[in-house]
């Protein structure tokens, strides 16, 4: 592997790229300048903090710390995903359980199949990818399920009035919401390597890994995205649909 270095000066020069987005937002009156700036600042601060933290944790090689860090990431992802489902009671708890379950299953399979080891330098970046994907999937899932329960209210009530239980009355909405959560993963898998060289692969190649090895890692990443997003979305949908009903199986 070559030691591809990126200097702080080049990184600063590259930051001018963000100005393009800001200029565009300003010209088009998108009113996103502030949000873009905040998001970029957050990226820089959060990533730098994580970078130093990871160096520290990688040095510790302590599985307890690694596990705590995974839980911390899950906690933050759950907080963020729950925002998309405002109005869904216990949205945070549902997100936390769903993301954790998706991550746990995926990591277990990867570890048992010896694709990765439970060592911080492998498990933390992989968990990060898995958790953030699950978070995005849950965000989509929550937004969809909330809007569908609003727009398909009459359909749900008709099914209830025909004597369906709340699960049967919600099946169509649950199915649609899981689909919505999974579609970005499916779409990106379909175009992988054709439209763009995906993140993991690009990173590895930039860092000097051979393309074929980088591809193997990328394929593993795709597999784990599928399992995590589907498990997380499935659990989240089946836990959250109930929150749209009261104990008499009536729509709230």
């Amino acid at each position: 592997m070559n030691n591809a270095e990126i200097s702080t000066a080049s990184l600063l020069a590259a930051s001018s790229l963000v100005m393009i987005a800001i200029a565009f937002s300003y010209r088009q009156k998108l009113k996103l300048e502030k949000e873009i700036l905040i998001s970029i600042l957050r990226t820089v601060v959060q990533l730098l903090a994580v970078g130093y933290l990871l160096e520290y944790i990688f040095g510790m090689e302590n599985p307890v710390f690694t596990t705590l860090l995974i839980l911390f990431m899950t906690f933050n992802a759950a907080l963020n995903a729950a925002k998309r489902g405002e109005g869904i009671e216990s949205g945070f708890a549902i997100s936390f359980v769903s993301i954790l379950a998706g991550t746990a299953v995926t990591l277990s399979v990867l570890i048992l199949s010896k694709a990765i080891k439970y060592e911080p330098y492998q498990i933390i970046p992989v968990s990060g990818m898995v958790i953030s994907n699950a978070m995005v999937a849950l965000g989509l899932c929550f937004r969809n399920i909330t809007s569908q329960f609003r727009s398909r209210r009459e359909e749900v009530e008709i099914k209830l009035s025909l004597g369906a239980d709340m699960l049967t009355a919600s099946k169509g909405i649950i199915r649609d919401s899981i689909r919505t959560a999974l579609l970005p993963t499916i779409d990106s898998a379909k175009t992988m390597g054709i439209v763009a060289l995906p993140g993991t692969m690009t990173g590895l190649i930039l860092a000097g890994t051979s393309p074929v090895l980088a591809v193997k890692y990328q394929i593993m990443v795709v597999f784990m995205m599928f399992s995590t997003t589907s498990i997380a979305a499935f659990i989240a949908c089946y836990l959250s649909y109930r929150k749209f009903f009261n104990e008499r199986q009536q729509l709230r």
């Binding site: 025909l162 004597g163 008499r248």
Partner: protein, 213 residues
């Protein structure tokens, strides 16, 4: 219904309503839009619960029943029909599916024919059905498994005269067979012609209850 009130988002929809519905009754309900008559039917079908007061069904508080089993006895059909799925068959198979049963094609065909519809309608996609056909399929869906109480919310408002007559006949026959009917109608003439009792709702209260026959 005993002293039932229903408040939604600080708005009083129904105020202290008491109403007795006997088994086999045929009550028609009239009232301006927003008077609270649809809310009344939703309360009867247990799609919502009263803010105060209680609704008894066969002498027992509705809240003590399993809501799913209760709604299988008290069926509700809305004005728009509200077909779901892709085809008419998806809708007519639904009452069977939720009970874990196979669709009884003969029973479906017999009921459809009462509504002036052939079996070919089953394969039709919902979007290719006319407004009147949709409404009749929705009514068939409501009545298929013979509920004890049928709640109808302006179900003939989208139908022409002939189809209105067909629907009225089916409902009248059901009532003759002992089914309890509560029917909201927009037409004063229809409400007097059909029911045995006429209930007038105004501003969330019962203004009158006339015995017609």
């Amino acid at each position: 219904m005993k002293n039932v009130s229903y408040i939604k988002e600080d708005k009083i929809i129904l105020k202290d309503i008491s109403l007795q519905v006997e088994e086999g009754d045929f009550k028609t309900i009239v009232g301006a839009s927003g008077s609270g008559k649809s809310t009344m039917l939703k309360l009867f079908s247990h799609l919502i619960s009263p803010t105060s007061g209680e609704i008894l069904y066969r002498g027992r508080d509705m809240m003590s029943y399993d809501p799913v089993l209760l709604r299988r006895e008290i069926s509700y059909c809305v004005q728009s029909g509200g077909l779901f799925g892709r085809t008419a068959e998806d809708n007519l198979a639904f009452p069977y599916e939720i009970r874990g049963l196979e669709m009884d094609r003969e029973a479906v065909a017999a009921l459809l024919s009462k509504f002036g519809l052939g079996q070919d309608v089953l394969r039709e996609e919902n979007r290719s059905l006319s407004g009147g056909e949709k409404q009749r399929v929705a009514l068939a869906r409501t009545l298929l498994l013979k509920p004890a109480v049928v709640l109808l919310d302006e179900v003939t408002s989208a139908l022409d005269q002939e189809n209105t007559r067909i629907v009225e006949d089916v409902i009248r026959q059901l009532n003759d067979g002992g089914t309890t009917i509560l029917w909201i109608t927009h037409s004063p003439e229809q409400s007097r012609r059909l029911g045995s009792k006429l209930l007038t709702v105004e501003n969330g209260e019962i203004r009158s209850l006339e015995v017609l026959r």
